[in-house]
Symmetry: C2
């Protein structure tokens, strides 16, 4: 039996578990997200880890994401910003599963630019993973965006998360695409991406500053101008991503943005940012999550 | 048998039919909206009108709203803005039901401030009804708002509809209230109105200009600050109505707004407008619809 440890990214819709040793990742497996569990979190963990626990000597696991929420395995308090990786590690909560000691990474909280509270859970691990992967992000000021269901815009200064803000972009796109009157007129919403429609949406988000007033054109373009469902869907995407980027870019005076996420979605944010003359670099979200978990595991075992 | 005519306001969710003569309304009845029909529109009309047609000599009916849409009784083309009541009447479409001649009022279309097309169907009848009821609205420039599922902001000049713009406010409120993550954390969304929360939403809509970025606080206030579901629901209402009013008020430099609609919703718009130092007056939406239908019936029989 060889020594190994387990890292886990356990979000709302998916569990990704990695069996690792000091040389790297030995194996990876998938399980159910926190919102989709059919058994308790410890039972799900033990079932997905399965024979890993027979074949290797596993003393430790580090888990991040919704696993630390009220509906997860063990609720962890949010670490308040400004926060470094060390601050986050100092707030890690502990439980166990059989002989395995489980470390659960807390989320981050902050007071947003407008004075309202904001929270993240899971993205902090990708963020500190990016800092582990990219030394340049550990000094000076950087604006980092993590596009997704709840897009996070984060300001990092000298390796410290100063403040962040959540935009409802992905969730609103999904809701409006499937459940609103905006996309029912021309038939089912289409998945085919329409480049011109997306660009038109970006332009419209800049000329029509009020998102509530801009959205209805997704419907009226179909009713009056014969737009197809795939045109309308990409127009909606451009309006929402454009509106998100305009709000964030003005707030942070961002001329250089690091994107962390899934390639396809990140490329849409990159287009919206580049249309505002901001430079972008994209890091893979899964790689950042793994790097963050690894950094926490190393710090905990040090 | 006495002479009578029928007026009808036939929207997506409800049919309201009025039996009238020159002295006024004799009777009123309700039927199913266009989206909820279980029989054809002529059959629904004949069934709801029922014994009216036996007891009175009814030659004419005037119907407005979604009855003139693609999914209604007879599709009527949108009359393009700028448009007067006379322009609308000239575009009325005709069909029949037994011995009754049916006039179907078209909607209005325009090119919005940002160059995108916009449409309304049903609100034009309330709007010209308001002009029939209030002579002051027939001269000079006025900004009229019709709050609802799709709130309409209309500029009227010398009795002519110059331009309008639709905001998705009511539909987005309903979607986010029932189907988003914003209101799932603290239990079921509550109907109890929280005055302070609504006012906080109005303020936040002004300080945080990006609606996408402002919305998440509805969730985070529950997660971090212990906000109740009824607080969160009213906060969401304030954010959306505030954002709608800010966008429209800046666009039209509106210092005086006529609201047409249901009292309770109109009062929330009035508060948002008054917080921006705009004066408001509210007209009842049902009275305006009936006045508009009456004005069209008089013009058609003249």
């Amino acid at each position: 039996m060889s020594d190994a440890f387990i890292l886990g990214d356990w979000g709302t819709t998916q569990l990704r578990l990695f069996l690792c040793n000091d040389a790297g990742v030995l194996d990876r497996r998938f399980g159910r997200g926190i919102a989709q569990l059919e058994r308790s979190p410890p039972d799900e963990f033990a079932a997905v880890a399965g024979d890993w626990l027979d074949d290797h000597r596993v003393d430790d696991a580090v888990l991040a994401g919704m696993v630390g929420s009220r509906t997860g395995w063990l609720e962890t308090a949010y670490a308040p910003c400004p926060a470094t990786a060390a601050d986050l590690i100092a707030s890690i909560a502990r439980t166990e599963c059989g002989d395995v000691s489980i470390a659960i990474v807390p989320g981050l909280s902050c007071v947003g630019p407008s004075g309202a509270p904001d929270v993240m859970r899971g993205e902090e691990t990708q963020l500190f993973g990016a800092l582990a992967l990219e030394p340049r992000l550990r000094t000076e000021r950087h604006v980092v965006a993590l596009p997704g269901t709840h897009t996070k815009w984060v300001v990092v200064e000298d390796g410290r998360v100063i403040q962040f803000q959540t935009a409802l972009t992905g969730e609103l796109f999904a809701l409006l695409r499937t459940s609103s009157t905006l996309l029912k007129t021309g038939g089912a919403a289409s998945d085919a991406f329409d480049d011109d429609a997306f660009a038109t949406g970006l332009d419209a988000a800049r000329s029509e500053r009020s998102l509530l007033h801009a959205l209805f054109q997704v419907r009226s373009q179909q009713l009056v101008a014969g737009a197809t469902p795939s045109y309308a869907t990409s127009l909606l995407s451009g309006l929402l991503i454009g509106s998100d980027v305009n709000g964030a870019a003005e707030l942070h005076h961002a001329t250089d943005v690091t994107l962390i996420g899934e390639r396809e979605l990140a490329s849409l944010y990159a287009r919206a940012l580049e249309a505002r003359d901001a430079r972008t670099r994209t890091l893979d979200g899964n790689e950042c999550a793994l790097a963050g978990l690894n950094a926490f595991a190393r710090a905990l075992s040090a």
